[in-house]
């Protein structure tokens, strides 16, 4: 492939979310790493630059909000997609007035997230090119 692959990090403490998203995004041509614990994800972010971060908000230990702040400190231009429960959607939007590319409410279907990721990709490729 002409362009190098974009790297995606997925963080959700529900393994099912990672298991479902990874193959679908790999087939779209991304390199995908998944994590169920935020501190492990944070370690990964310290070693690798991810172009796109997809994370849940409510998690045991460090929650998604803290994780995002830390990750953004390390790589400010990583694009972020937040997945969150339908009920907490408004609060989530409120808390991240900026710095988040888009929000997706759970449950979501695969094509929904594929579309958002394609939009992020277009944005990243656009700014790079």
């Amino acid at each position: 492939m002409a362009q190098s692959k974009l790297k995606i990090l997925i963080l959700d403490d529900e393994p099912i979310v990672c298991k479902r998203l990874k193959p679908s995004l790999e087939k779209q041509g991304f390199e995908v790493d998944t994590f169920n614990r935020s501190f492990e994800a944070l370690q990964a972010v310290q070693n690798t630059k991810y172009d796109i971060i997809i994370t849940d908000l409510k998690m045991e230990g460090m929650d998604g909000m803290r994780f995002l702040q830390e990750a953004k400190k390390i790589h400010p231009d990583s694009e972020v997609i937040v997945i969150t429960g339908f009920a907490t959607m408004e609060t989530a939007k409120e808390s991240f007035k900026k710095g988040v590319f888009d929000f997706i409410a759970k449950p979501f279907n695969l094509s929904e997230i594929q579309r958002v990721v394609m939009r992020v990709e277009a944005k990243i490729r656009g700014t790079q090119g």
Binding site: M1, E14, I16, V17, K19, R20, L21, P23, S24, E26, K27, Q28, G29, F30, G85, A87, K106, P107, F108, N109, L110, S111, I113, Q114
Partner: protein, 867 residues
Amino acid sequence: MFTGLQNLWHRLFKPPQQLVAFPEVFERFQDLLHDHQKIMEIIADLGEKSGGDYVFDRKYLLDTVNELHSLLLRLVKGLNLISGNRYVELYAALDRILLPLEAELRGRLSLTEEMPYVVGLKEAPLDLPELVGGKAGVLMEISQRLHVPVPDGFVVTTRAYRRFLDHNQVEGRIHSLLASWISEKLDTMQVSRQIQYAVLAGVMPQEVAREIRREAQAQPFWAVRSSAFGEDGELSFAGLHESILQVPATGLLEAVKKVWASLYSPGALSYRRQVGLLGEEAAMAVLCQEVVASRASGVVHSLDLEAPESDGLVVYAHPGLGRTVMEGRANLDRFLVERRQPFPIRTKNIAVKESYRRVAPGGGEEEVSVDPEEQERPALAEEDIQTLARWSRTLERYFKRPQETEWALDEKGRIWILQSRRLTPPQPSEAPDICESCSAYPVLIKDQGAVAHAGVGAGPVFVVSSDQDLGRFPEGAVLVTRYTAPWLAPVVPKAVAMVAERGSPAGHLATIAREFRVPTLVGVENAVALLPAGGDITVDTHNRLIYQGRVAELLRYELIQSTAFEDAPEFRLLRRLLKRIAPLNLTDPQDSNFTPEGCRSVHDVIRFVHEKAVQELMDLPRFLKRFKEARVCTLISEVPIGLKIWDLGGGIDPQARGTQITVAQIRSLPLQAIWAGVTLPGVWSTEPVAVDFKGLMASLTRTLGDGMSAPDYLGINLAVVTETYLNLHLKLGYHYNLIDVRMDPDPHHNHIYFRFVGGVTDLTRRSRRARLLADVLSRYHFKVDIKGDLVLARILHLPQEEMRRRLIALGQLIGFTRQLDMQLKSDEDVGHFLEVFVQRLEPAGDPQSPQGGKDGTEQVENPHPGR
């Protein structure tokens, strides 16, 4: 959550109150319809989520069940308010249905008193994995759903296990021993020995022993295997629990206890601790099967582990009994077979067999040596190899992962499947780039349609456009169709994937696709034209792509994913919840089972509540009392049935004065539409006798007026209306016709319920008429149930114009049925009259769409997932 239900029950159960005024009843009824609708949407939504296209977590399931719970409480309360508390038993029904749901969500076994101790493999219900355990569950799916033969037998259920523990009072002891183990006061061996001793020393309760002995008589020897709850899911307990072969019938009770005790073997205990299952309830069912005195036996690997990318499967075979095969001691024939129809054999490696084991004449096994000239004879004939190859692929397709399947060939030449489990292929060290591999294949269709069941499947395109095509549908083809009609159902299990031009993920085809786990896209425009008949295609619903050709890399990529979504705990849980939510068992209000006690699912409860609420609304003696305060008009029309209209707001012209109104003054949209149909010229006369509708009406009313034993409320025809609502109650002659319609601008609120019963002639003719009605209604895509002469039909969620079209047809149907039962003299007449009627309907009907719906509409009703 459930505390307080009892209080509520008592609070509500006061002496029958005075009649609630109709406007209030109507208001409650509207609320009730709204909640009913909401619950129907949740049921459809859950069904759709079970198709694998959505990503959801356990929290979603918890929230949804909670929401269902509050809606149901409100619904039941609403009905009791309308009816003066005549249905308080519904609260008990709610408990009965909701408590197990809660138990499921908490991961608890919910076994009830009605569940059997022992159940036959062929009869056992597929929807109770907690009762029969994992291994038996898999075999039941193989035999009952996939129709691949497994040796007959029975299951000693987890309920029997529970009963055994209770009877011997060992549960407490098990718990305290496990506690000592966790706190490391005892080591694994000590705990295991003590628990196993307690179980083995237990006495089998009489009622359980009796049932086992009764079943045991069928055979002299049995194969006895563990079937633990939770086994064969994502977790593999392979080899940790006991299996005992060649058990004499008289030794079954002891063997069952041994298998139960193996739940606490050192290995099983350590494994459960390791995977965090110790806190969960352990329960063991025991599978007892006929012993196949096998002439040959072996295993099939649905994927060649030595060369996963070569698209081959491997059949291993050896003469005699299977134990030597499984223990790896035998020299095996190895047949490498193409993974595709017609399963040609690529290579045969025939082993030299010096001896084999067989069943000894007096029971037990014996070793037999093979004559030198026989030693290189293949253990299996070619056609048997192909049969096994086909089954192996069927199993893989259904279970979604490569399968290792044990088989046996008996003395009569029949092949049996003994077990099937997941085969884990080695992970390729250097995984090829899946995106790049796929991009080498031309894409035929992209981003079209909706996912009914998720997955990847490849095969030749076979277009089905009529039921004549069904018989020719080849195993392993991709079903491509314009419609999503129920008559497609028989070929669904044979399909590797399905693509339909119409339909929705909440429709019938989607439900069947989920039951058989067939990857399915619906609503793919032009699929029939775009997909080459006979050519290979690959359907990938995850990315909504259809490729030309077999994308072998993608098929392999799917197979080696860690878990098929169908096996993820969330999906398994959802399917178990759905079994208690979605099936509709109460279809016929005339059935003696149509009671609060008869409700077995959430769907049953809302069906019951809805029916009773409508009845309440239509209960004429009450209605007449309620009438007193209402303003009721009589409709003046060329169709002289004296229709009384009760307007609850916006249903008739506000300028109308007096007690009579004209057709032009009707403002109620549904009544306008129906009346347009009733008064259409020329639809009433049916061959061979042209009958003038007015005359017919008059003659019938006259006849009935002459004192024939007419039912009650004769001649009272009522319409309760608002601008968008109609509840029409017709008693014309002996027919009893009830139509309830909501016709909002928002299609989601809309429904037509149609009920028709009774008639002047004998039951046979009335049934004939019922079938005719059903045929006509089906052409309008109603979901129709008939029982005897009762016709129940409904359709949901159509836009106003579509509703109108159907209401006009119903109007025509009302007139048409007036005389039918007198004229339908033979079954052939049904077809004839259908023709006549449909011809007459043409201006309003849709002659071009035989089954599927030209408009692509499909009802969001009756999801029935995975029944």
